[in-house]
């Protein structure tokens, strides 16, 4: 109950504080948004035109994210006001003192686990699913459980990121075990080994996975449903294999943000239903704002679960294990 009181109070008190913040933010002029999430230009534009403060999107790829941010931070040249990235990366940045706490009023209504932290706000899940070519895969053949991927009929027909090195894929495979998607650990291992036996084609990350499915080079991909939106009108659909898993996406404000007021303004906007709707509609992202779903058939009813963050040491050791299974000759 206490929480609710605080929340109500803050809603009442916010407008006045908000007004002065907006003026300060306008004076600062812009908010630099370092992000690994792609295709968010429409949200930046909407923010700029709604608030009169420029939202600047600095796209940093996941592999270079920590190196870039920490290098700039250590040299005192971090230009980011806000940092958006996979939860594990933000946790590491938090550990290094790069981030500062902020509890945005827009976060109300998000699931409790998404805002258990004062600093890092989780707003979406980088969800993974089996994507297939609906022109080439007959409806009766579409996998209905993860185990179906081990069916030998899919031999040489699957594309997926390299399970020995791609962090999100390693996390996903481990997540399937930990989320008890399979009845037993043995069943899970059968799945992993069966998948390996079907000799999937490996690519470096998720982004090259839909291409071969669209062109018909492969039929199934371990990929992300958001490509159904971003690659429309490609004949893609997702297989209803049960619980979907993904790494949480987080966002936080930089401790030494050059534009702190603009940063808070942007955070409030980013977490708002409007922005999240744009993210779901235009980019196909799975967002945590209540009642907002990407316009992909069936996703609203799907069970999408965040995966426990794995430490880098765990990722590496699992990567080694998967390497032995998937690269066995």
């Amino acid at each position: 109950m206490k929480k609710w009181v605080v929340l109500l109070l803050s809603v009442v008190l916010v407008p006045s504080a908000f007004a002065s913040d907006l003026a300060l933010a306008k004076k600062e002029g812009k908010a630099n948004f370092y992000a690994n999430i792609t295709a968010v230009e429409p949200i930046m534009q909407a923010f700029t035109s709604a608030k009169g403060v420029e939202g600047v999107y600095v796209r940093v790829s996941t592999a270079k994210y920590l190196a870039t941010v920490l290098t700039e931070f250590e040299a005192g040249k971090l230009q980011a006001d806000l940092l958006q990235g996979p939860l594990p990366i933000l946790e590491m940045l938090k550990g290094k003192g790069v981030l500062t706490p902020y509890r945005s009023p827009s976060a109300a209504g998000y699931p409790a686990w998404a805002r258990k932290d004062d600093t890092i706000m989780q707003f979406g899940i980088e969800y993974v699913a089996v994507i297939y070519n609906k022109d080439l895969v007959k409806p009766k053949d579409v996998p209905t459980r993860y185990m179906d991927l081990t069916n030998p009929k899919w031999r040489d027909k699957i594309v997926m990121p390299d399970p020995s090195s791609h962090a999100t894929t390693i996390t996903w495979l481990v997540g399937l075990k930990e989320a008890k998607v399979f009845p037993s650990d043995k069943a899970w291992m059968d799945f992993v080994e069966g998948l390996a036996a079907n000799r999937p084609m490996f690519v470096k990350s998720f982004s090259p996975t839909p291409g071969p499915v669209e062109s018909g080079e492969k039929l199934l991909a371990i990929s992300m449903p958001k490509y159904i939106i971003t690659h429309a009108p490609a004949p893609l659909d997702w297989a209803r294999t049960g619980t979907l898993l993904g790494t949480p996406r987080g966002v936080a404000i930089a401790a030494k943000a050059p534009h702190p007021n603009a940063a808070r303004l942007f955070m409030d906007y980013w977490l708002s239903k409007d922005a999240m709707k744009l993210l779901a509609d235009k980019v196909g992202e799975y967002v945590l704002a209540p009642g907002v779903y990407p316009p992909i058939d069936g996703i609203a009813k799907a069970k999408v679960v965040p995966i426990r963050e794995l430490s880098d040491a765990e990722i590496r050791s699992w990567g080694e294990k998967f390497k032995k299974i998937f690269f066995a000759r």
């Binding site: 796209r59 920590l66 040249k77 230009q79 962090a167 690519v203 470096k204 062109s215 690659h231 590496r316």
Partner: protein
């Protein structure tokens, strides 16, 4: 002449500053415990990197991949430049164009084109050949070492061609003719005389391509990874991408072996061509190479060249164009053709970031190549004509950041530039480009300097000209072909530069390749292809204009005309 002794140290300082700084950062990083460059000393990164049981297999693949690509590129360049400079094969201009085009194509696009053509499941070319010859299996699996070598070899063909063609056109044909008269047949003459005399150019080409392949990432990732063939670059990528805190220090530790290999190669090259006098082929006498009359074999050969250039270069570009018209990637079919539209083109042309990237890239290409060539002229002069120990140091320096795997050197530059006020500006890109790609200017210019007989310079000095005047009046006009090659190489590389840009580019300093990478990360192949073709067109226009200008200048100044 007092300024000559000062020239070498000045250049060493400039080139050293450009190339050592990022490499030094990486060396620090590889011995440092954290992710940054300056935290506790450790050897653990080296121990981990070099005790990896897979490293030996990776190194073997790398060896085959780099040498194979160098062989493909150099052999093709030899063949094409021989046809171009030495025979009366028709449609010669075609050869020049064909051998330059792959340089303007973003490597990732070229690789994807080949996957669409030759993947074993539904590659367009594979399916066609399977139908034609009623094959049961795909004709060629692109996801293999030969596939990687083919594509990388083609991508590096321009580098080889721009090094070998000038040497070929300066070749004294009587060396071959005398071999024939001495009783050696065509083949023996080719192996005993033609190839050995061209050795400096051939070696330069092989070394440059090998070094380039060591740093190449597009082909190993797009073609090698699906075939489960890992080379040094993809091995490093694995190290970086496994886990969220990418360990660039460890990556740099692995990269050190590429660096060591490159330095070794450069010294080997200097040793093998140590008597540069041996290969002086242009002297002051007017000299025209004899043209070999191909007679009856003229049109069959033209057909052959036409076929290989069509399959190797035109076809992938056509595939790009085809993809650019489609909403998503599909094999040619009635449905595909019915879905074609200019939508991707319009979206690219209306995208403000794409347009800004275009502007920035053209600027970087023009300004960067010009500055780069000026620096290269001085550096090559010292390397070839001064030839002291310090000149050797200078040459190795110029290769330092070039030979580091791209992904890693980009981080080195970031670690370096973040300590300067240039960070996050377009000037950081400009300096980074010149530093990394300096060898592209130095190689063709050194070949040109090697071929200028010192008599020419000496006669000018006897006439009382100072060193600088000698350079301007006598040497530069004879260097124009080399300057042209260097400028073209640099400009077209800068136009599509990715490895440095992807780390240093920030809002406002976006460049084409970064925009292309974004489209590729978002899987927007159509837009990617459209922007790629725009890039190819602009580069082609630049190169054509430069060639034209160079030819006009050479005609106006050459004493032989």
């Amino acid at each position: 002449m007092g300024n000559k002794s000062a020239l070498t140290p000045i250049l060493i300082v400039i080139v050293g500053f450009l190339t050592i700084s990022p490499v030094l950062m990486l060396i620090f990083g590889s011995f440092s415990e954290g992710f940054g460059t300056f935290s506790g000393f450790t050897l653990s990164k080296y121990v981990e990197a070099y005790t990896d049981p897979e490293l030996s297999a990776v190194l073997l693949n790398t060896l085959v991949f780099t040498l194979g690509s160098a062989a493909v590129a150099t052999a093709l360049a030899l063949f094409l430049s021989y046809m171009y400079t030495r025979t009366n094969i028709p449609f010669k201009f075609f050869f020049g164009v064909i051998s330059i085009i792959p340089m303007m194509i973003p490597h990732i696009l070229f690789s994807i084109s080949w996957v669409l053509l030759l993947n074993p499941s539904n590659g367009i070319l594979n399916r066609y050949l399977m139908e034609l010859f009623e094959l049961k299996k795909a004709f060629f699996d692109i996801y293999s070492l030969p596939g990687m070598i083919l594509v990388e070899g083609l991508l590096d063909l321009p580098v080889s061609y721009l090094i070998i063609a000038p040497a070929m056109s300066a070749f004294d044909v009587s060396l071959e003719e005398s071999s024939r008269v001495c009783g050696a047949g065509t083949l023996r003459t080719f192996t005993r005389v033609t190839l050995p005399v061209l050795r400096p150019a051939i070696l330069a080409s092989v070394i440059l391509v090998v070094v380039r392949c060591l740093a190449s990432f597009s082909v190993p990732s797009v073609i090698g990874m699906p075939g489960r063939i890992y080379v040094l670059a993809t091995h490093i990528y694995r190290i970086i991408s496994t886990g969220f805190s990418a360990d660039y220090g460890k990556a740099a530790a692995v990269g050190m072996s590429a660096l060591a290999a490159a330095i070794l190669l450069i010294y080997l090259y200097r040793y093998l061509t140590s008597e540069s006098d041996r290969y002086v082929t242009i002297s002051s006498r007017g000299f025209k190479p004899a043209i070999i009359d191909l007679k009856g074999s003229k049109y069959p050969l033209l057909g052959f060249v036409g076929l290989i250039s069509f399959v190797l270069i035109v076809l992938p570009v056509l595939v790009l164009f085809y993809t650019s018209m489609l909403p998503y990637v599909m094999v040619p079919s009635a449905k595909a053709f019915s879905l074609m539209s200019w939508r991707n083109w319009l979206e690219v042309l209306e995208d403000p970031i794409s347009l800004l990237a275009l502007k920035n890239s053209v600027m970087l290409g023009l300004v960067g190549a010009t500055l780069g060539v000026i620096l290269s002229i001085f550096v090559s002069y010292v390397i070839v004509k001064v030839r002291t120990r310090a000149a050797g140091v200078l040459e190795s320096l110029s290769f330092l950041s070039f030979s580091f795997p791209g992904m890693v050197i980009g981080i080195g530059f970031m670690w370096f530039f973040v300590r300067t006020p240039l960070y996050a500006t377009i000037w950081a890109l400009l300096i980074g480009y010149i530093a990394v790609y300096l060898p592209y200017g130095i190689r063709p210019l050194s070949s040109a300097f090697v071929q200028i007989h010192s008599h020419l310079e000496e006669s000018s000095k006897v006439c009382g000209a100072s060193s600088f005047t000698t350079m301007r009046r006598i040497v530069i006009p004879l260097l124009i072909p080399g300057i042209l090659s260097g400028w073209i190489l640099m400009a077209s590389i800068f136009m599509r530069e990715l490895t440095v840009s992807v780390v240093l580019s920030r809002p406002g300093s976006e460049v084409l390749a970064v925009q292309i990478l974004r489209f590729s990360e978002d899987g927007l192949w159509g837009r990617l292809s459209a922007l790629g073709i725009i890039m190819i067109l602009i580069s082609s226009a630049l190169v054509t204009a430069a060639s034209f200008l160079g030819k006009t200048l050479a005609k106006g100044r050459s004493p032989a005309e």
